[in-house]
Symmetry: C2
Subunit: 367 residues, 2 copies
DNA sequence: CTGAAAGCGCTTACAG
DNA sequence: CTGAAAGCGCTTACAG
């Protein structure tokens, strides 16, 4: 059976195409009785108007483009979940663009522009340059960023409140009696890391703790480096009793290093992460961390984009989403002195029972 | 500046729309010189034909739909990477549908059908019922499954060779001298788990090892259960020297349990996973596992779909993709007796230095 | 090899 | 409140 057209419906209802179209666009000019009749005919014949024809006639498309990085991130999935839940309530569908590498990035953006397929663009940022997007936006295509790295940009964007998040984590540690609190920095080229670091510094000072420069180390989000730095920190006589990491994966490496030094989390050293990716609930011990509200960030970005497409203006700077501190078991009251002695991490695979974590979702259904 | 139309190009080139259209569809009937001129005009004016108009006139759409589960899976990202790399070479774009819960599933499929937007459908399966898709397929819409759970279906699908993958893992263990090899089953309702189990059994028998029913335990992909079962296994006098798990996340729980019993991986017990998700390269010790070629599965599925859309027929049953055994450090030669004694896992957070893993990608760039 | 004409399925003034 | 007509930007026989 060939797909029904508006002409078929008109015929079946004994009306003109015009009227059917008015019903389709629920114009108030149509007689209610007529409208109901048309609606009934459509329903009973399972009619759906052709998207292509509608798009052509109306001169606008029912798609929003979404660019996601071609990587394996909890974040992308979580953001997408939020985006999808908003867009599925709208008349739009999502066209998925995966940016597999930075080189192709501007040609991807160009392709999107040229196709004219998208009424707006949602971009989950990565490391890529933002100027192609800014040009596009200036040319009139609404663009909204889910800006997890906090890359400075004039584009409307949604991002977590990195500063406040970290400050809250510091308050938590201070309340637990910690005064020697170290920070393992991520990549300070990223704005989000700078913000988190400012949150660390101000969190210390709010608690009346003087920052000790020796307790700030650069981990560059690189586990081996982090393990080294943390081992050095723990070898100090005035070693820290708490360590904040700039993301969860980093916090895992910190915990690893603590254990490798023969110390315990959280009895000897408390550890705090940032992100709250799925696995952090299942580590041993479960990680205390600052949750980025990824699904909500996706929702907010999608809503913002839809509003912009519908003609809203206000470029009121980035939308800051509140984080929340998820207190689990990697933080505890600061240990009393004297300290349990740290021992240098064992070398070689045979040196000691290797440590291990039960990381992973509680039920992992695949495969 | 308003978007250029085919009429503008025709005018600029001093030709009719018809000819320009023929160039667009690279008809051989056009004079080469003419064609080049038209192409040049298009290029210099940055012309791209309207997708909507083309779709309407041609009566077919340039989209393929992709349904992904709304979950946080390494798998989805990896499959998508493969799909994207194939589709971006084709004239199609991907419309992303996220199935957030099973209840809405058939209405989602119905929405896709009704919209008529997709020329074909790629489905990353989850737990959902497959009949709505089968109906759709019978109604003429090409559908291809990336069937990670191995759910039986008449639909064309791509899936890993679960049987052979596990058999290979068993050969690896046998070669290392293991004869007491346990299997922690996942959810046996899934075909993929049954296949893997058959691979385990046949792998044993190929190595001349008689299967000991006591060494098969049900873990249901549930870490707490798994830790319990493994602890019981290790308490046996004739405990296994190797354990195969039916996926990586499960293997993590197995390793956790081994360590908690005071034993070492791999010196006392070798552990093998299945999947090779990203984190498995960074566990301590790195996990030996059977890799599912997710990106390749995505590519194969995308290619299969494109071929089907282009009129290929052959429903030759599921495409089986070869797995590969990734040997890392969680497997080693079987220990000589006498065994190191297992001790029951310590209870309570203070009982012993808690174990930990450095899980996570080596560089974790977010955030 | 190129052009004029009709058509894809819808929308939108414009009449009535 | 409803209908006839023109148009959205392309394609596709059909002439020539």
């Amino acid at each position: 059976m060939p797909k029904l057209t508006i002409r078929d419906i008109a015929q079946l209802a004994g009306l003109s195409k015009s009227t059917v179209s008015l019903v389709l666009n629920n114009s108030p000019k149509v007689d209610p009785a007529t409208r109901d009749r048309v609606l009934e005919v459509m329903r009973s014949h399972n009619y759906t108007p052709s998207t292509a024809a509608t798009a052509l006639a109306k001169g606008r498309t029912p798609f929003i483009g979404m660019i996601v990085p071609g990587l394996t991130w909890h974040m992308v999935a979580a953001v997408n979940w939020g985006v999808a839940s908003v867009i599925e309530q709208s008349p739009y569908e999502i066209i998925l663009y995966t940016s597999t590498n930075e080189k192709d990035y501007s040609s991807l953006v160009e392709r999107i522009r040229a196709s004219g397929l998208s009424a707006g663009l949602l971009v989950v940022t990565h490391d890529q340059p933002l100027d192609p997007l800014e040009k596009l936006h200036r040319a009139g295509l609404p663009v909204v960023l889910v800006n997890t790295l906090g890359t400075p940009s004039t584009l409307p964007s949604v991002q977590a409140d990195n500063y406040e998040g970290t400050r809250t984590a510091l308050r938590h540690l201070a309340e637990l009696g910690h005064t020697r609190i170290a920070c393992v920095q991520g990549l300070m080229a990223y704005e989000c890391c700078q913000e988190r670091y400012r949150g660390y510094l101000d969190g210390l000072s709010n608690a009346g703790i003087e920052a000790d420069p020796e307790l700030t180390v650069d981990g560059s989000f690189h586990p081996p480096t982090i393990r080294e730095r943390v081992t050095e920190l723990l070898a100090r006589r005035d070693r820290p009793t708490a360590i904040v990491a700039q993301n969860d994966n980093t916090a895992y490496a910190v915990m690893q290093a603590v254990i490798d030094c023969g110390l315990r989390v959280p009895q000897d050293v408390s550890v705090v992460g940032f992100d709250d990716i799925a696995s952090s609930a299942d580590t041993h011990p479960p990680l205390t961390t600052v949750r980025q509200p990824f699904p909500e960030m996706g929702k907010a970005a999608a809503r913002l984009l839809l509003e912009t497409i519908d003609g809203a203006t206000g470029d009121a700077g980035p939308v800051r989403m509140s984080t929340s501190l998820i207190v689990r078991e990697s933080t505890a009251r600061a240990a009393k002195k004297p300290f349990r002695k740290a021992r240098p991490p064992a070398a070689g695979p045979d040196a000691a029972p290797r440590t291990w974590s039960g990381l992973g979702p509680n039920v992992s259904r695949t495969s």
